[in-house]
Amino acid sequence: MTLDYLLKRIFQFILIAFLAATINFFFPRMSGQDPIQQKLMLLQSQGVNVSSEEVAGLIETYNAKFGLDQPLWRQYINYLGNMARFDFGVSISNYPTTVATMLKRAIPWTVGLLLTATLISFAIGTIVGALMAWGKAPFWVRTIFPAFFTFSAVPFYLMGIILLYIFAFQWPIFPLFGGYSTQRIPEVSWGFAMDVLRHTILPAFSIVLAQIGFWALGMRSMMVTVQGEDYILQAEAKGLKDSRIFYRYAMRNAILPQITGLALSLGTTISGAILVEIVFSYPGVGSVLLQAVRGFDWFVIQGVVFLVILSVAFTMLVIDLIYPLLDPRIHYRTE
């Protein structure tokens, strides 16, 4: 890997961060909306008594933060600086909690859910797909996975609703909502971990269900391609054991495009996961976003958007940078 490539990728990452911050800044201003004013109107329409010192505090923080009396370009530079420091301002609905605090609380849930679900569906899907191509998969697997592939066209959160109805409402095996039972206090303990696990199974399963067919069929077609390669024939001619050819020659090569696919699908997956969280009231970024949209909590929405775009870009950067370790042919030499 050359420095050139590294710099180019890092530049790309910064560019995405910059673009995300820029649309965050300009889009709402272009429509000429005042989040604080809107919030006040909403509260009044709901008949809520807004205490004057709360409003004063809000407005003061808001003005101090964004320097609304300054010219637009100053505000913009200021905003970019804030974003770079992950300073997203203060939640309007949960004043004086900062957006960063809210996100810090939500992120572990989302990352945990997404990571588990993605790893499970990627691992199982890839192995099953490989076995299907190798002619080692039982009949029921070969019939059921193409059906899963068709399901991958349906948004996962709708699958989630159906799963909830069957396994939480009709047969209450799993909890109906939340990330942990309401009577429990988050702590590091075995009991709490099991409780979280119980709450995570259904949302994770709805993501797995929607993705597993995609990975399986992708891997199957890659394995079929790889099986026609000369190095597989040569491996057989070397008298290698079938298991060795399967893992070290066929799967090892067929998995490379799958990993590229994993990186590319990240954006779609996280969008889906946000909606799954909403359906399951799972206490992650998705639920924070839903609450923010309901409460016109602009800064929270902007924070979520910026952070999610940034995390996806960062994960892709990491995958791109470790990819040469998996494929020695990639050197990122600039010609």
Partner: protein, 363 residues
């Protein structure tokens, strides 16, 4: 007829060995490789494509046999059949492949797996893609050793690989490289080093020089020749470049439409091919000295292997075809110390050779 086949093969080899010079030390011993009446079909929706139909062949220890013919004549299929590496829809329908007296077609999968590399090794067609792109060269060779029961330390393996690589003219540092860091010629040398890793009795080289440039082609063939001499293995070389083949082989088998139509010592076929197809084939390739002044193309197309004509498969394209050529199928029979399947040299009524009278077999 069944009993007569081994007899026939022995006779064939015997008469050939008499015509051949010093390399045939074991003329009276059993042949190393005997192929008897081998048929390979590709099953398609429209019927069976007969890629190899009734090939008989004997190869003695230390012999170098080249198989030549136009593409699609079944030479690569034959090579892969010996390795038992044909994939569906290809299927070995009938025949025996005896390697040192053991019928490879009767081995179970595990026995055949162990036989590969140990008894018979393959140097594949395309040097470019024959190596796993994500593994170091040494690991790819070690894989082969390990799966044949060799359990040694990495250092011992490395020493062994180093000497294997040196034998094919590669530096020791190639072991730690990845395939994409090697040139085509280097990859083909790695292929040869791998093939000789367990000193097999037979090496099948399927167009080892395709996709290489001319200078490298010569080098690869020289290396293969040297390896053969050092290890004493027999080699079957599938190829199309008569220049390279003449440099390398002891005898040449000419294939046409899945049949062996001529089997002859190299000097004699170069001097005068017997079969009209062999004659045209040799005219159509550059002559030994590399001049292309006799370049002639063979008119017509090879027959569709799915519905083969009656009689001689070459008759429709043959400049010397006679009236009965399209009715009676010629068989491979001895003629003047060589073998040829052509009515020009045999009396069709008796099935007896029309010139030299030695064999009495029919296919």
């Amino acid at each position: 007829m069944g009993q007569s086949t081994p007899e026939k093969a022995r006779l064939m080899a015997h008469s050939l060995s008499q015509s051949k010079s010093n390399r045939f030390q074991s003329s009276n011993a059993e042949p190393l490789l005997e192929i008897r009446d081998l048929h390979v079909h590709y099953e398609t929706a429209d019927g069976a494509v007969k890629a190899v139909s009734g090939v008989n062949l004997a190869l003695y220890e230390g012999e170098r046999l080249a198989l030549v013919g136009e593409s699609g004549c079944g030479k690569t299929t034959l090579a892969l059949a010996i390795m038992r590496l044909l994939k569906p829809p290809a299927r070995i329908v009938q025949g025996e492949i005896l390697l040192a007296g053991r019928d490879l077609l009767k081995l179970n999968e595990e026995e055949m797996r162990l036989a590969r590399l140990q008894d018979v090794a393959l140097v594949t067609q395309s040097a470019m893609n024959a190596l796993n792109p994500v593994m170091r060269i040494e690991d790819q060779i070690i894989d082969g050793l390990e799966d044949h029961g060799y359990e040694e330390t990495k250092t011992t393996f490395r020493k062994r690989i180093q000497s294997l690589l040196e034998h094919v003219g590669l530096k020791a540092n190639v072991a730690r490289m990845f395939p994409h860091e090697l040139s085509g010629g280097m990859k083909q040398r790695v292929g040869m080093a791998t093939a000789t890793a367990l000193n097999p009795k037979l090496i099948v080289a399927d167009e080892p020089t395709s996709a290489l440039d001319v200078v490298v082609q010569r080098q690869v063939m020289t290396t293969l020749g040297r390896l053969q001499k050092e290890t004493g293995a027999s080699v079957i070389l599938v190829g199309h470049d008569m220049g390279l083949i003449a440099q390398f082989a002891d005898k040449v088998g000419v294939m046409y439409a899945g049949k062996l139509v001529e089997l002859s010592p190299i000097e004699r076929i170069v001097e005068k091919p017997l079969h009209p197809y062999a004659d045209l084939l040799l005219q159509s390739v550059p002559t030994l000295d590399g001049k292309r002044d006799r370049l002639v193309s063979i008119p017509g197309m090879p027959p569709r292997l799915i519905d083969l004509p009656t009689g001689c498969y070459f008759a429709p394209r043959c400049p010397s075809a006679m009236s009965h050529c399209t009715n009676v199928t010629p068989t491979l029979q001895p003629h003047d110390g060589r073998y040829v399947a052509c009515h020009l040299y045999h009396d069709i009524n008796t099935g007896e050779p029309s010139t030299t009278a030695t064999a009495e077999v029919k296919a």
